[in-house]
């Protein structure tokens, strides 16, 4: 089989597949690629994870200090007599409210890290894309995996704090992969889309810098969505992040199984975003090489 086969600017793949076989191949393609490039992903991921604290002496300690500091500040704010309008609405005692916010922030930070970085992602790797035979679609996967590492550290800090403050953990915490995996897929999809758009224009980056902080308030990070009047229900769930935040809180903080409608909606947005992102990236990847 030829490794390159092109006619008039179109890659030629000779095959006889019917519609359903093509659909299966499309569905499998991102995973086939990831499997095929696993060593490359691992090599670059290793460097990316190290990169974050490059040149610092403390290194990894920072990854733990940041979430620790955050949770310390929330706890201080909500356990002292500071008057906060929302504090009474939240489920549980005041420490519970600190955890409530922290869990929301973990999910949101994961999203915002991807949203900020993705538009510049291909620019960071221009040399690789232009000078080597490089699977540029794997960059979104790698950068999401890197952010996953830091998110897991934050989650570990949260669980330790929960254990220390309340003396126990919810058994439903074990279900966390069931929400983390769809969330990771959702973010990979977003990264594919944003990195492709960002390759054409830097406006995508500036747009995200302005829009993401606003999203923080459109997502129930600081308040439970039940504190909004019912007409907002549709809109708060239209923001896909809401589902992930709520499912996370249900299983980690409240110890109950998530609402199946909310969970189903989250999985659906995840699958749709993942494949839309891949389709979009794949469609423009050959143009991207020439414009970046």
């Amino acid at each position: 089989m030829p490794s390159v086969n092109v006619v008039n600017g179109k890659q030629i793949v000779v095959e006889n597949l019917n519609a359903s076989q093509r659909l299966v191949r499309f569905a499998a393609k991102p995973f086939v690629q990831m499997w095929h490039h696993q060593d490359l992903i691992a090599a670059i991921l290793r460097r990316e994870v190290r990169d974050r604290f490059k040149g610092s002496v403390a290194g990894w300690i920072w990854a733990v200090v940041a979430p620790l500091l955050a949770i310390a500040v929330y706890t201080f704010a909500f356990t002292t007599n500071l008057q906060l309008p929302m504090a009474d609405n939240a489920a549980g005692p005041r420490v519970g409210y600190a955890l409530f916010i922290f869990s929301g922030i973990i999910v949101f930070n994961f999203f915002s890290e991807m949203a900020f970085r993705a538009p510049m992602l291909l620019h960071e790797y221009t040399h690789f894309i232009k000078q080597t035979i490089f699977p540029s679609d794997m960059l979104a996967v790698i950068s999401t995996l890197r952010a996953t590492v830091y998110t897991l550290i934050s989650i570990a800090v949260m669980l330790l704090f929960q254990l220390a403050a309340t003396g126990s953990l919810q058994w439903t915490t074990l279900l966390m992969p069931a929400i983390l995996i769809p969330f990771i897929a959702f973010l990979v999809g977003i990264s594919w889309f944003l990195s492709a758009v960002g390759a054409f224009t830097r406006d995508a980056g500036y747009f995200m810098i302005n829009i993401v902080p606003l999203f923080m308030f459109a997502t129930p990070v600081f308040y439970p969505h039940t504190s909004l009047p019912p007409p907002f229900d549709f809109w708060i769930y239209a923001n896909a992040l809401t589902g992930y935040v709520e499912v996370m809180r249900d299983i980690v903080l409240l110890g109950k199984l998530p609402n199946w409608k909310v969970y189903g909606w989250s999985v659906l947005t995840s699958v749709v975003t993942f494949y839309f992102g891949y389709w979009f990236f794949d469609r423009y990847r050959n143009v991207i090489v020439d414009v970046i």
Partner: protein, 260 residues
């Protein structure tokens, strides 16, 4: 030519053309995306035009031409980094591109770490890189600098390391773009010897401004001008006419402008 079967041909290009889109105004690309179906907002700048090329297994092809004539673009197209805009291209076999050596190095990381990444980018498995590591280090010959960040390397050391990685990829087609210009004479000789060995089993596409290298390594030479093949044949013959042209034809200042 006619006696060779199709499996002997590793690269076959027919009427190959590559155009970049040049926009008169910075934001015209947006108009192109939105209204491209209606009219075109760019001038096509043809970097390659009507390239016909057949490379047989085991051949070594030297590519000559002035700056900006399309040599590097041709190599990029053959490697599959960028798609041609026109024509047909078929490539059989694993390609190792030796373009812009060392440009993908991460300056903060050590040589060793860069070998791991660089090897992975070229498609080597982690176990393969680990197995070959001593051999890579030996070929590069930069000693204890292997453990130092690449930012402390000299240009020549970077080239040594980068070429050494490429030399350990088991490729069928080696594509080399002016890679050896920076190394010292001893290292250049080492690389040329290695390429010489490679030629026994593999196919070589070689861009160089050093006529001596082309004469030594190549069985055929191609002279590209203005994106077209101007002359093709026996290396010494092509080199002679290329040299003559360089003396007679002045450096044209309009070379990089789009055609009206």
């Amino acid at each position: 030519m006619s006696s060779s079967t199709s499996s002997d041909i590793v690269v076959r290009a027919k009427h190959l053309g590559k155009a970049y889109q040049l926009y008169a105004r910075r934001n015209d690309w947006l108009m192109q995306v939105a209204f491209g179906w209606w009219k075109t907002y760019f001038k096509p700048f043809w970097v390659l035009r009507d390239i016909d090329l057949e490379v047989k297994r085991g051949e070594s092809i030297g590519i000559l031409g002035r700056n900006g004539c399309g040599k590097s673009t041709l190599l990029q197209v053959i490697c599959g980094m960028t798609l041609p805009s026109h024509g047909e291209l078929r490539v059989n076999g694993r390609i190792a591109p030796v373009l812009a050596l060392g440009s993908t190095f991460d300056l903060e990381l050590s040589g060793r770490e860069n070998v791991m990444i660089g090897g992975a980018v070229l498609g080597l498995k982690r176990t393969e890189i680990l197995r070959q590591f001593t051999s890579i280090a030996e070929f590069a010959g930069i000693g204890d600098y292997m453990e130092q960040p690449v930012k402390h390397y000299s240009m020549g050391m970077k080239t040594r390391l980068a070429f050494s990685i490429c030399a350990h990829v088991e490729a069928e087609i080696l594509v080399v773009d002016e890679a050896l210009a920076v190394g010292d004479a001893a290292f250049q000789r080492k690389c040329l010897d290695w390429i010489d060995g490679f030629r026994k089993t593999g196919t070589l596409l070689f861009v160089s401004h050093s006529m001596a290298e082309v004469r030594r390594l190549c069985t055929r030479a191609i002279w590209i001008e203005d994106g077209r093949i101007r002359q093709e044949g026996e290396p010494s013959e092509v080199i002679r006419s290329y040299h003559r042209a360089l003396l007679v034809e002045k450096d044209d200042v309009h070379r990089f402008s789009a055609a009206e």
